[in-house]
Each structure stands twice: as C-alpha cells, then as structure tokens.
C-alpha cells in the first residue's frame, strides 16, 4: 500500500508539472520521456506485486480485477508505444495509396490499396457576423471601417435574432447562386451588414475503396466516430477540403496494444464498481500496510 501511495504521488506531481508546460510539443517531450516510461513501468510492477500479495479469493475479486486491469492497460499502452504505427495523410479523391509516411519519416506499406471515392457533407445554417459602420464610414466596402458586433447563430425557429438590431428570417439570407446557398454579405438598414462566418459541419461521410493483394474490392463507409477496420489497420475520418471537396484527411493506425488497453479499461471499471458498491464500513485507524 505505502509503495503504491508513493509512486502515485510522484506520478501526480509529474503530471502536474508536465501540464503546466502547455505547448503541444512540450507535452510529447514530457509525457513520452524516458522518465515517464520508467514511472509507469515501476507503477506496473507495484500493481503486480500488490495483486500477488493479496492472493485470490472471492472477497478480493474487485481488487484483483482493478489492479490487473491497470496492468493490462499499461502493457497495452507499452505495446502500442513500441510497436504501433500511425499516420495522418491527405487523400485526394479517387487516388489509391498503399503506403503511408509516418511522423518520423518512415514509410510503411499497408499491403493493400485504399482510396476515397466519395465524400458528402451536410452543414448547419451558418452563423453571421453583424458589422456596424464606424463614424463617417457608412459606405465603405472595407470591413476595417466597421465594428464587429459579434456572431449570431440561427435560432430554433430558423431566424437570426440580432437583439436590438431586429430579427431576420433565414430565407432572406439564402442565395441560390452561391455555392453553399447562403449570401456572403447581406446589407441591413443604417449601413449595418451581415457577413457569413465559416461553415459549421453537421455530418460528413466518406466512402473508402479498398483493393487487396488479390484485387478484390471492398467498399466501406467512413464517418467520424465510426472508423473502418481492415487487415489490422484502422482508418479515421479527420477533415476535408472545405473549398472544393477535392481531398479528405484520414488517419490510419495499426496498434496491436489498443485492444488490450480497451479491455483493461473495462476491467478497471468493472472492478471499481465491485469495490465501491459492496457493503463496507469506514475504517478507523487503517489496515496494515501491504
């Protein structure tokens, strides 16, 4: 018990120190540093020793599941760290790829070809920025001569509530000649102007074509939160070319440790529920230190 308290305290102090250094590159240097790996390695060993010392009994089921679950998570994470590969790449439409370049420059052959053959996106009604002309600049075309009064989203009835500047129906902002069907700019009374903000995605979907080594074709639908699995690889939909829909950004990952991590998490969860929901009295004076 005392060694697990000591190592967890050190890990907490390490994490706090690391989180204070806020640039994303600093995160990688700290949280993937040899010191961090050593701390987690020591923690894993202490968990295993704790489990071994407690032994197996019905009373200790929750304890064992919890502690071994953490061991499984850390082992899975270690496998992923040393043996996993991940790459994020731009996939132009209808262009097959069988190789990916990793962050460290290495090129990995996937063993099959993958291409994006279709992409669809639906969007919410756009936000509009309301601009008010600065003194004496009522007819200027330059937004620098305007004051930005903030962004306005369409409300539940489809109109835009501009507060003290009135309300405008969404249909008035529609423009059938515009690519996305919405006006870029819309003049209001007294020189006020509405300027369309960046689009807000509601849903997007890509179709992947996978050609294996035997030239068999497989078509899979890929969405955010619904990755595609094939031959040990997992594909995730990241972003896309918002101007012309000419490319999609995918992340591809092959990580043999991920399954262990996920199973370990469920084990810790299950073990914690057993430990915390069974009847137990508050201890006075503490148990003997293990």
């Amino acid at each position: 018990m005392k060694w697990s308290i000591r190592i967890m305290t050190i890990i907490v102090l390490f994490l706090i120190t690391g989180s204070i250094l806020v640039s994303s590159k600093a995160y990688e240097k700290i949280f993937w540093s040899p010191l961090c790996l050593i701390l987690l390695g020591v923690f894993t060993v202490i968990m295993m020793v704790c489990s071994f010392k407690q032994g197996l009994s019905l009373k200790k089921v929750g304890f064992q599941i919890c502690h071994m679950g953490i061991v499984v998570i850390l082992i899975g994470a270690g496998i992923g760290y040393f043996a996993g590969v991940k790459a994020t790449a731009v996939f132009p439409m209808d262009t097959p790829y069988n190789q990916l370049q990793l962050e460290d420059g290495r090129v990995v052959d996937m063993g099959f070809h993958v291409s994006v053959i279709d992409f669809q996106v639906t969007r919410y009604n756009p936000d509009y920025y309301l601009y008010k002309p600065l003194e004496g600049n009522a007819k200027s075309d330059d937004l620098k001569d305007y004051e930005n009064l903030g962004a306005f989203a369409s409300s539940f009835d489809g109109s835009y509530d501009l507060k003290k500047y009135g309300r405008i129906d969404a249909q008035e902002l529609r423009d059938s000649t515009a690519r996305d069907g919405w006006c870029s700019k819309y003049p209001l009374e007294n020189g006020l102007i509405l300027v369309k903000a960046a689009p807000k995605d509601k849903h997007y979907l890509a179709k992947l074509q996978i050609i294996d080594s035997n030239n068999r074709e497989i078509i899979e639908k890929l969405e955010v939160n619904h990755p595609v699995d094939y031959s040990g690889w997992r594909f995730y939909l990241g972003s896309y070319d918002s101007e012309n829909n000419s490319y999609v950004v995918l992340t591809a990952k092959r990580d043999p440790g991920t399954a262990l991590v996920i199973y370990g998490m469920w084990a810790v969860l299950f073990g914690t529920v057993i430990l915390c929901f069974r009847k137990r009295n508050y201890l006075q004076g503490g148990e003997s230190d293990v």
Partner: protein, 261 residues
C-alpha cells in the same frame, strides 16, 4: 431578451433560491417545509432541463450551460441513494447547498440555449461520458462541502461522523468518475484513433482521478491515513481545474474539448 431566455433565467433563479431556502429551513429543523421547497426547486430544474432538450433536439450535455443545469439535478437522487444505503439522512441540507452552486455559475455565463453538435459529439459515448462525470462531480462537491463543515466542528466525534460521511459519498462517486474517464478514452479512440493524447483536460482528469485514488488508499494505510484529508482537498482542487479552468483559461486550452466553449 427573448421570451425563451427570460423563462430560462426565471427558472434558474427560482430553482437556486428554493435550494438555498430549503437548506436553511432544514438546518432550522423544519424538515417537511424544507423537503417541499427542495422538491419544488428540483421540479423547476427538471423543467429547465426538458426545455433545453426540446430546444436543441437531443440530450443537452454539449456546452457548459447545459452541463451545469443538469449537474444541479443530480444531487437529490444521489442523496436519496446515500440515505437509503448508508443511512446518511442528515446530509440533506449539504446536498441542497451543493445543488445551488451550478445554477449560480450559470447566471454568470453566456447561456447558449441553442447548440449545434459538431460531428465529433455525435457519438453513443457522449451522454454516458458526460453524465458519469456530472454524477461524480456532484458527489465530490458534496464531499468537499462536508470537509469544510467538518473543519469548523470542535467536537472530534462530530468530525469523525463527517469523515465517515465523506468516505461513503466519495465511494459512491468514484466509480462514476472512473466510468467517465474511461468512456472518454473509448470515445477518443473511436473518433480520433487516440485513446489518450495528453490533452490538458485529459491530463487533469487523470490527475483528479489519481488524487481521489490516493485518498482511498491513504484512508486504509496506517502510515498515510493522516494525509487522507490533504489528498481529498487536493483532489477537489484538481477537479475544479479540470472542470472550470481548462475551459475558462485560454492558455490552458484543451484541444479535444474546445467544442464545449
């Protein structure tokens, strides 16, 4: 101010006021009146939650306003569980006080009643992840309020009663915190292919979880039992950092959780 926003404001103020009144009345030993006021405050909170749900068209958990309005509703059902399981009926006024705080927070923020979910939030893990965390935060808040109340008690027997209550409250909340933490990782794996990316919010949620774990371990250790209160206080501090500061301080910006702004 539109009619909807005015109604929202009235519900928030009424609900928070009723929670505060109920705690005062219960401390004055007028239990029946206190229970009625508490129930009324909770019903107004439910009306606010339902209104938010209708306006956005899906369970309202995406932005801070939605999350805090739901958090205030968690306290009463959790009190009922603790009262039935651990016979901690005397905790009621502390749960009433805790119910009020999220609504006070909502009064001082921009209440984004309409929220359009980006694709990343359209996941089956969204509601369980946020819901688990809200339940655990509700219980952690009550435990902290009890710790403050315990600190001003001169009687050591009373302090011991408070310590036991804190232990049982946190013991109920910790599985929910664990669930929230791991469901977040499962979700991140499905959405971005990264179950853990050392995002600021993730790191601080792990720090919070570890500190509560340290509390439970130290309580059962002869050598470190005297540190259990310190671990508890630090854990709640970390919880506040995770829940509030990461969203409110731009320089601590969380990349993955930025859609909650």
């Amino acid at each position: 101010m539109s009619d909807i926003n005015l109604l929202v404001l009235l519900l928030i103020i009424s609900s928070a006021s009723l929670y505060l009144l109920s705690s005062i009345v219960i401390f004055m030993k007028k239990k029946l009146l206190g229970n009625i006021l508490l129930a009324a405050g909770w019903v107004l909170g439910i009306m606010l939650f339902i209104e938010n749900w209708i306006l956005v068209g899906y369970p309202p958990f995406a932005n801070m306003y939605h999350v805090l309005t739901f958090l205030s509703l968690c306290f009463l059902p959790l009190y009922i569980i603790l009262a039935l399981r651990e016979k901690l009926n005397w905790l009621l006024p502390y749960f009433c006080i805790a119910s009020m705080f999220p609504l006070i927070g909502v009064l001082f923020m921009e209440r984004q009643v309409i929220w359009e979910r980006p694709p990343a939030l359209q996941s089956i893990w969204f509601v369980p992840h946020v819901l688990s965390y809200m339940i655990s935060y509700a219980l952690a808040t009550v435990a902290f309020i009890l710790a403050i109340a315990s600190a001003i008690k001169a009687d050591s027997a009373a302090r011991e009663d408070f310590s036991k209550a804190i232990y049982h409250v946190l013991r109920l909340g910790f599985p929910f915190m664990t669930t929230g933490l791991f469901l977040g990782a499962v979700w991140a794996e499905e959405a971005w292919g990264n179950y853990w990316s050392w995002d600021t919010k993730e790191t601080w949620s792990l720090i919070t979880w570890l500190l509560y774990l340290l509390y439970f371990h130290s309580i059962r250790s002869r050598e470190y039992k005297k540190w259990s209160k310190a671990f508890h206080i630090c854990a709640f501090g970390a919880l506040l950092v995770t829940f509030l500061m990461v969203n409110l301080l731009p320089q601590l910006g969380s990349i993955l959780h930025s859609y909650t702004k």
